[in-house]
């Protein structure tokens, strides 16, 4: 989903919880634009999301009954270039070059380890990402059961035609 023009995220886990976090991130990024007239850095956006994760002990204000059961991959482009952050329900976040989350993540992570290098072009990255996804998916990869989005430098969710084009290159 899109968080701001320059930041998007992918989710795995309880999707309803993810929507709460994404909504919060959207509000925070727009507040930042309103107050400072500039886009929020990707790290600050990630930090804003993770601030919500463990609001248990406060008592009256905004305390939760259970943690958010969702991991997020937050991808964005700011003045430091493109970056990727991975968050988990504890509220910890890591910066990565490549990451997979979800039920097939272990196999996908090791494939990424082998295939990723810093000089990948956007086209190569699309192909690699989709081929790894194909390995861990049970159904066949079609434009209707796979979503691709990129942030380069603005967020763009691929249309089914564009996804079809990537699938054709696999």
């Amino acid at each position: 989903m899109e968080i701001d023009e320059h930041v998007g995220c992918a989710m795995s886990g309880l999707i309803a919880d993810a929507r709460t976090l994404v909504e919060h991130a959207r509000v925070e990024t727009q507040n930042h634009r309103f107050s400072y007239g500039e886009p929020m850095t990707v790290e600050s956006t990630t930090q804003a999301i993770c601030d919500l994760a463990l609001r248990f002990g406060e008592g009256e204000e905004e305390s939760m009954s259970r943690p958010f059961g969702v991991s997020l991959l937050i991808a964005g482009h700011d003045e430091n270039g493109p970056s990727l952050y991975y968050t988990d329900p504890s509220g910890t976040f890591w910066q990565c070059n490549a990451k997979a989350i979800g039920s097939g993540s272990e196999g996908a992570d090791s494939s990424l380890q082998e295939q990723f290098n810093k000089e990948l072009t956007l086209q190569e990255a699309e192909t690699i990402a989709l081929s790894i996804l194909k390995q861990v998916m049970e159904e066949k990869v079609t434009p209707n059961n796979v979503d691709i989005a990129m942030v380069a430098p603005n967020y763009h969710l691929y249309t089914p035609a564009e996804v079809e084009a990537v699938i054709a290159r696999l």
Binding site: F34, S35, E38
Partner: protein, 281 residues
């Protein structure tokens, strides 16, 4: 949360958690401007009052019959160049026909490339500059970088508008370098309307200085499309000389301007400050 074990048992009178209260206030302040603006546009009501409802000037005046502001005079000027910015203000503090001090600085360095000069009511100016400096520090901690001049410009505008119905009596000029290293000057009215310009003068001597700057610096209109660069082609030393000349002229006829002018020059090497004597009468 580590302090939980040191707290007295719940049966006693509960202690105020000042950190939580402060954080509550801070969150309100951060999200309040957007919320207020949305409320105002949604309800079409232009008289929404801020959450903490301070006394408005109209109620203060009608209840106490008292004017809560005071004008301490002074003039501020800023000029933006291709890779520098000059911000200057006189150092006289006055009230009525009296001088309170000849050595009062109206300039505050908010970030390494951002300086504000304000004239008007010094009580409000001190509060405003402290507020902005504190917000800059918070920003530094949260985002791991110093605030850029355009970001501070937007923040100042929001801070001023937040008190739309009980304004800061402060006429501000913000100067510095933007993220590309070019000089930028932003000038404000008392409630936060702002514009990026190539030069500006505010305060009691502004009406004497602005026409001279208009004549010397010939800024292109901000309405032109495509936008033309407003920064002056003058060199840094020429701009500083111009500032000294305009202050000397304003001092001749404006009783609230004089004593000394503090000139702050920001360029990529850093910030330097100089003081030039003016007429003391």
């Amino acid at each position: 949360n580590g302090l939980r074990s040191l707290r007295p048992p719940r049966s006693r009178r509960p202690r105020r958690n000042l950190i939580k209260e402060g954080r509550k206030r801070d969150t309100g302040h951060r999200t309040a401007p957007l919320r207020l603006l949305l409320q105002a546009t949604n309800s079409g009501d232009s008289t929404t009052s801020p959450p903490s409802s301070p006394p408005s000037p109209t109620t203060a005046m009608s209840r106490r019959g008292d004017w809560v502001y005071e004008n301490n005079g002074g003039t501020c000027v800023a000029i933006a160049g291709a890779d520098y910015c000059v911000v200057a203000a006189d150092t006289r503090l006055s009230v009525g026909y009296n001088i309170l001090t000849r050595e009062h600085s109206k300039i505050c360095e908010l970030a390494d490339k951002c300086v504000i000069a304000s004239s008007g009511f010094q009580g409000d100016i001190k509060a405003l500059q402290k507020n902005l400096a504190a917000r800059e520090l918070l920003y530094q901690h949260q985002h791991n970088k110093r605030m850029s001049c355009p970001a501070m410009a937007q923040l100042l505008s929001n801070t001023l508008y937040y008190k739309r119905f009980f304004p800061y009596y402060a006429f501000n000029v913000l100067g510095g370098l933007d993220s590309e290293g070019k000089g930028c000057v932003y000038s404000y009215d008392a409630v936060g309307s702002y514009e990026r310009t190539g030069y500006s003068a505010q305060g009691s001597g502004s009406t004497l200085i602005m026409p001279v700057l208009d004549n010397q610096l010939k800024s292109p209109s901000p309405l032109l499309v495509p936008a033309r660069d407003a920064v002056t082609p003058l060199s840094e030393s020429e701009a500083v000389d111009l500032v000294k000349d305009v202050f000397a002229s304003a001092t001749e006829r404006d009783i609230y301007t004089g004593d000394k002018v503090e000139i702050v020059v920001i360029n990529k090497a850093g910030t330097r400050r100089e003081y030039i004597e003016l007429r003391k009468d």
